[in-house]
Amino acid sequence: DGMNVLFIIVDDLRPVLGCYGDKVVKSPNIDQLASRSMVFSNAFAQQAVCAPSRVSFLTGRRPDTTRLYDFYSYWRAHAGNYSTLPQFFKENGYLTLSVGKVFHPGVSSNYSDDYPYSWSIPPFHPSAEKHENDKTCRGKDGKLYANLVCPVNVTEMPGGTLPDIQSTEEAIHLLNIMKTSRQKFFLAVGYHKPHIPLRYPQEFLKLYPLENITLAPDPWVPKKLPSVAYNPWTDIRQRDDVEALNVSFPYGALPEDFQRRIRQSYYAAVSYLDVQVGQLLNALDDAGLSNNTIVVFTADHGWSLGEHGEWAKYSNFDVATRVPLMFYVPGVTTSPGSPGARVFPYLDPFSHPGGSAPQGQSKEVVELLSLFPTLAELAGLQVPPACPQPSLGVVLCTEGPSLVHLFNISEGREGSGGPARCS
């Protein structure tokens, strides 16, 4: 009861993480979090595109209830005045704070990230966000482009920084303010990477030599795939480097070398994200908040890395809908640490192998819809009622069940950190 909540939501992250069994990606900090968490191996988003997925899990309602399948309506005006997860915590005495990309910006969150309903203070957006799609990628000819694959020298970027670096700085700043206040907080931190453009500090490329990067195991369009099911990855075709390849629409394949470069940069962006998460969790330790803060780590949907001849999300394939989902609950997923002991020491992906196994793992098929009731129950709040069908007129209810009954943690088991890769 009275636990704080740190809610980390990542844009377009499929479970390519050491702790989900991936053999390529270096994600020691997220793996370390998993080694102290309950990890769900089969968690799925309700729609594989940003705004509909985020509004769905933040209201606990399916897209057919939020009636948001694109980016251009605000559920409170368009479908129903549904309460949100942060709003629920705010109404239960929490200070609710948003950093980075939590709601999708624009119409779908009323151009305000649903403030003031969901948040106690105006949400923070990194100033570097506005340069996200600028021509900041240096081509072989030395000119600047708006590319898909975009390793950069951060010092050359506008303001000498990147959005996620600024988000981490702001989140750490807020944690340091919260440590001295007695106020319970719900802090949501939304990271932009690995959403496209794959723009990340170029040094992360060293972790993934191109010769080690393979194609997807099934980089062709399946014979019996109905044409309606195929996602023609239009958004990446509009990036300068992809456009220059003149790939035919809709079924032309990207050159294999470029496919491997996309996969290489996706992995590099994941390791860059891992560093941000590691710094954030290290700061949670520094603020002495690790033993009374629930940490949730998830994503809004996945991303196809060439499987089925597809890239990006926009489909019902597992690679687009399956997401990482884990809950760290002090005293539940780990025995209460001794005061002052570090729970999340920062791990450098350039020197740490990562890959620690989850503390607890469930292979049960679950939905992001369950985030809302699960967090309410973990925080000791009254779990919202299950929605009637239909629930358009119901302000507070959820269409998914709480997952707490699936937390199969043996009491007091120490975090199973260590080199063993996850199953």
């Binding site: 595109v49 044409s227 309606v228 099911a229 023609p232 990855w233 019902n316 597992d318």
Partner: protein
Amino acid sequence: HEEPAAFSQYPRPADTPQWNSDKPRLKDIRIMGYSMRASDYRFTLWVQFDPSSFTANFSNVHAGELYMMDSDPNQDYNIYNSTSHGWFYQKIL
């Protein structure tokens, strides 16, 4: 005890890929792909959708997908047209 399943969905403007197939605006949605993902299969029905009334017409099926996870974990071999799927149809409804 009902076997747990995750339900996802994706909208499309037409049966064949076009420039707005990835992100159709609400007014252009004509088909909705409803997916039911259980531990051992993924079953998807692409059905007629009316954006003005937000209703899906499950008696007008444009296409279907069925993948058995044990033998086809990457979902490359759609067996929808070569198997009877009445049970799946009932379950997703």
